[in-house]
Symmetry: C2
Subunit: 208 residues, 2 copies
DNA sequence: TAGATTGTTAATCGATTAACAATC
DNA sequence: TAGATTGTTAATCGATTAACAATC
């Protein structure tokens, strides 16, 4: 069942969902492609076209019922239920990720943490017990975990990734500043704030 | 001097730069569009086309001298020198950002931190003194800061952004899960790990 | 009903790829 | 020289936008 829906469309759905959840929070019950587009800086035509890949969620003349559209988008993205996530790396970055509340709030539950430093193994970050990287196969397997976040130094990222993939992980959020090689059925997304900063400095005039 | 170079090209340059810096670190001195493309999962034609917007950096038959291409890309992106950056928000997320070493290493120096909580003001995170959000105009002005990172709760993000923009900030890296309204000469980039996770769950089969 | 907004089609626009002469 | 790889042009591909009939 290979999807024929362009990935660029998929990449916008979470943005729509987030904006709609916010609108709901602000007390709105109905919105239109025009209003949503204005908020997001996206054309109304694009929003309607994107949504039309998945069904007719609106009503002519009145627009979209927010609660309904939120439900539908959550279903499309498969985020109505909670996902278990593994975190590899319990250094500064990994610890910050473990403590960040934004994941749990939005349906991603950190189920286990791994690190390679012997002195950290067996200790805890918040409520999470730190496992050895060597235990990735058994722990990931036992929990049937499909999603992992990688927060290890660049030189360790590919090794850790290979272990995760072998253990059955199909989606990786990589915080290490390096491109990962994975099989074609494994998805990778990258988070590197410096990349975003460098993209913006192009447009700035450097003044010391 | 409005640039005619597509933003999508600009968005790839930092990726190229990062990969080239890594190649250099691994001891390579020369590479080709084919090799670089293989590493990044990008076609060689695209790399050559992207680079050709800025000049001829390679040699037929031999490819690109890495050190030269790194220098050129740094110049294009204006990251040869250090940029001062303001950080707003000294909560869990802000503190983690302040402690993260990856910025300094790659030319972004956190010059000041702001928070609105009276009990935090005057205290320090690492070596950084926390200023009041009310002091954004004076502190940003005094340092002539052009880049800011926003790590405050969603409901405070727009207010803080308005203050930054008024103070002269032209580039914002926003960690708050909300779309910001800014004038057209101000650049915004978003970091929201949950958005990336939700983009990947679309392709997964949910198994509880 | 009249006004508003959807879903969809066709037209436009822009980005990627293929191909190759130039040349190191 | 022969082989390799660039920079660039033209062809293809895909995404966005404009427009409007359908209809709430």
């Amino acid at each position: 069942m290979a999807s024929s829906i362009p990935d660029i469309v998929i990449s916008r759905l979470p943005i729509y969902l987030r904006a709609l959840e916010r609108l709901a929070q602000e007390g709105y019950e109905v919105t239109s492609s025009l209003e949503l587009g204005r908020r997001l800086g996206i054309s109304s035509a694009q929003i309607r076209k994107d949504l039309s890949h998945f069904g007719g969620f609106g009503k002519q003349g009145t627009g979209y019922r927010i609660s309904f559209l939120v439900d539908q988008l959550r279903q499309v993205l498969k985020v109505e239920n909670e996902w278990k996530v593994a975190l590899v790396g319990a250094g500064d970055l990994g610890s910050a990720i473990a403590r960040y509340k934004g994941f749990e709030d939005r349906g991603f539950h950190i189920a286990c943490i791994f690190d390679s430093a012997p002195e950290k193994i067996g200790k805890q970050i918040d409520k999470y017990l730190i496992h050895a990287v060597d235990d990735i196969p058994s722990v990931i397997g036992a929990h049937a975990i499909k999603i992992a976040m990688v927060a290890v130094p660049a030189q360790a990222a590919q090794f850790v990734t290979d272990a995760l993939v072998t253990a059955g992980v199909k989606a990786i959020l990589n915080y290490a500043p390096i491109n990962l090689k994975v099989p074609s059925d494994v998805h990778v997304q990258y988070i590197d704030p410096v990349i975003h900063l460098q993209r913006m400095t192009f447009y700035l005039n450097y003044t010391p």
